[in-house]
């Protein structure tokens, strides 16, 4: 029999399998299921991470989160973007990009829907925040923090409206259609008088709080509180996304990404779950947009171009499609590099283009590949299929063929 006539093995699967086999040979059967993707330096980290007890993992996580919160105060010289760019503002920018990448990762990474127009949802969120808080807008005003959930809801609705007709398309066709989304929103902002085109909305609202010197805590130029707010939201979204990917919905997305027809014939309502992925991704994008609008304080139609949309996709691909940690990393990196290395900022698209090509050639699954996400799933699959403890625990000790 031949191995060449089946579906193409996924890139890296052979290496991952070799690693899994090696580990299966070393460990007892119940833990060999979480054999990690061992290739590369992140693979090795990942392997160590999987081997750690739960408490130790939590300790490390808390330490990492604490450092993340302290970054604007520590302002470490190696990382700092100053004097060219204010470091706390750069951190805010990174956090927003990370949030965008986590949202887009739901669409591209989990459900496998290549959305090249994600900027549309970011724009919808920005406009929701701006039009409900800016004095330039004729609409009713609400406190800024209310616009965050509202931006999620509005963006999700737009996601469903755009998703229902277009998600019947697949692959490249879907990508081409989504490419238009961003443009549609931008052009609507130009055409609809209430959205004020290039004039835009000044003085977008901000969260409450006034410093002793009479300057608001969330001033446009003060990145630190904005960064902390965004980081907190990012952590909450990450926790929710983690739960989602281990759920029935998450499994459906993986199945749809892997083979849509097969998923459908397994009983997965593929269309429904694709719309869900689209809507949830849109919601996160909308919230990122509202945060961005709040910090910058100004929204007009010039900020939402296709190129930024492609940059979002680049962030996800760079980090590792299907891995939320990778998405955070990729998003932060895409925002950070032009701010840190101001001399090359002009060439950022050239550099990201080259970086993407290199990634595709040498690490086609991104800097942090996605396999560890499926691992949690693997353990649950065991429990689920077996209905509790296995009847014959000696499965993997049988000799290999």
């Amino acid at each position: 029999m031949s191995t060449t006539d089946g579906p193409t093995p996924m890139p890296g699967a052979k290496a991952a399998q070799a690693a899994a086999n090696r580990q299966a040979a070393e460990k007892n059967p119940s833990t060999s299921a979480d054999a990690a993707h061992k290739t590369g330096w992140f693979g090795r980290w990942n392997e160590k991470w999987q081997a750690m007890p739960r408490q130790k993992q939590w300790l490390y996580l808390i330490a990492i989160v604490a450092v993340a919160y302290l970054l604007p105060i520590l302002n470490p010289p190696i990382l700092s973007t100053e004097p060219g760019n204010d470091f706390p503002l750069a951190l805010f920018s990174m956090a927003v990009y990370a949030l965008v990448a986590v949202g887009l990762n739901i669409v591209i990474g989990y459900a496998g829907l290549l959305d090249l127009g994600y900027i549309a949802f970011f724009a919808v969120g920005s406009y929701t925040a701006a039009m409900l808080t800016s004095p330039d807008s004729p609409f009713i005003k609400v406190p800024y923090l209310w616009t965050l959930p509202l931006a999620i809801v509005v963006a999700m609705c737009i996601g469903v409206i755009l998703g229902i007709p277009t998600l019947r398309l697949r692959g490249d066709y879907l990508a081409i259609v989504t490419l238009g989304f961003g443009e549609i929103i931008r052009i609507l902002a130009t055409l609809i008088p209430a959205m004020k085109g290039q004039v835009g909305f000044q003085n977008v609202g901000r969260p409450p709080g006034m410093g002793e010197d009479g300057i608001p805590v969330f001033a446009n130029s003060n990145g630190t509180p904005w960064y902390w707010l965004t980081l907190t939201i990012l952590i909450i979204v990450l926790l929710l996304a983690g739960n989602l990917e281990r759920s029935r919905v998450g499994r459906s997305w993986i199945a749809i990404r892997e083979d849509e027809d097969a998923a459908e014939t397994m009983g997965v309502p593929t269309f429904k779950y694709k719309v869900w992925a689209f809507a949830l991704g849109a919601g996160v994008g909308g919230m990122s947009g509202a945060l961005f609008a709040g910090q910058v304080g100004f929204v007009n139609n010039q900020k939402f171009d296709v190129v930024t949309s492609i940059l979002f996709v680049a962030a996800v691909v760079l980090g590792g499609v299907g891995n939320k940690v990778g998405a955070v990393f990729g998003g932060a990196l895409v925002a950070y590099i032009p701010l840190r290395f101001t001399a090359i900022a002009e060439y950022k698209y050239l550099i990201f283009g080259l970086a993407l090509m290199l990634i595709m050639i040498y690490r086609s699954k991104g800097l942090i590949p996605a396999r560890n996400r499926l691992l949690a799933y693997g353990q649950e699959a065991y429990a689920r299929v077996r209905n509790g403890p296995p009847k014959k625990p000696a499965v993997a000790t049988e000799k290999e063929v």
């Binding site: 089946g6 052979k14 399998q17 899994a20 993986i254 892997e258 097969a262 014939t265 693997g378 077996r386």
Partner: protein
């Protein structure tokens, strides 16, 4: 008793008609084979029965219920399970995760572990490889996985689309032996094949498909003995 009935079913891809007024039945407990050359409409027929394609005309009845308009993922719950052409396994999932996906449409979880044991008994190779990624397995193993996964939904009707495609001769015999075994355990099988010899030998009844129409029908043995079919499909 009739399990599945197609009545005057036509299927179009755009303006091209792939199936012309096809009618046939599958009785409970049978193995029924559809044989035909490339482009005869075999896979189209399968996809229409599993619900991935909608007929432009005609009706499909399953267990006395009209399922013509029913979505594919609901037909699985009703008891129609397909092992798709080209195997259609999830390459980045392990064997066990693939099998677990097969239970997705099941309402009751009781008996899942028994079904897993059954699949592992039919395909001991899958048990040996339960932690291997689907995409790294050989063609034959993927075929076993696809059939095993389809069985995990505990179907009343199992649709097999070219189970022998791309397999070595000894594997083809093995797969057909297992299909007979599955059938003897009470699952009705509808089979689409280019490998007419095995498909006819194993089938209770069979149909020959030519350019979207049924041209011959009969028991497997009758069709095996039919000189015209011998000429066209069995290499003279």
């Amino acid at each position: 008793m009739t399990l599945l009935e197609l009545k005057d079913v036509s299927v179009h891809y755009g303006r091209i008609q792939a199936i012309h007024n096809m009618s046939f039945t599958v009785g409970e407990g049978e193995i029924v084979s559809l044989i035909g050359a490339n482009g005869a409409g075999k896979t189209t027929t399968m996809r229409t029965i599993s619900g991935l394609l909608n007929p432009s005309h005609g009706s499909i009845t399953f267990m006395g219920e009209d399922i013509t308009k029913m979505k594919a993922h609901i037909r699985v719950v009703q008891g129609i399970s397909q092992a798709p052409e080209g195997r259609g396994i999830f390459p980045a999932m392990t064997v066990l995760e693939n099998l677990d996906m097969g239970t997705f449409g099941r309402k009751d979880r009781t008996g899942v572990s028994d079904d897993l044991e059954r699949v592992f008994t039919l395909f001991p190779r899958l048990k040996e490889r339960e932690k291997q990624y689907g995409g790294t397995m050989s063609g034959g193993e993927q075929q076993m996985l696809a059939i095993g996964r389809a069985l995990m939904s505990r179907p009343k009707l199992l649709l097999l689309d070219e189970p022998s495609m791309g397999l070595a001769p000894q594997f083809i015999r093995q797969i057909f032996k297992i299909i007979t075994e599955i059938n003897s355990q009470g699952t009705t099988v509808l089979l689409v094949e280019q490998n007419a010899n095995q498909a006819l030998a194993r089938a209770h009844r069979a149909f020959v498909l030519e350019t979207g129409e049924i041209t011959h029908s009969g028991t497997g043995k009758e069709l095996l003995a039919n000189p015209a079919i011998k000429e066209a499909y069995l290499g003279g």
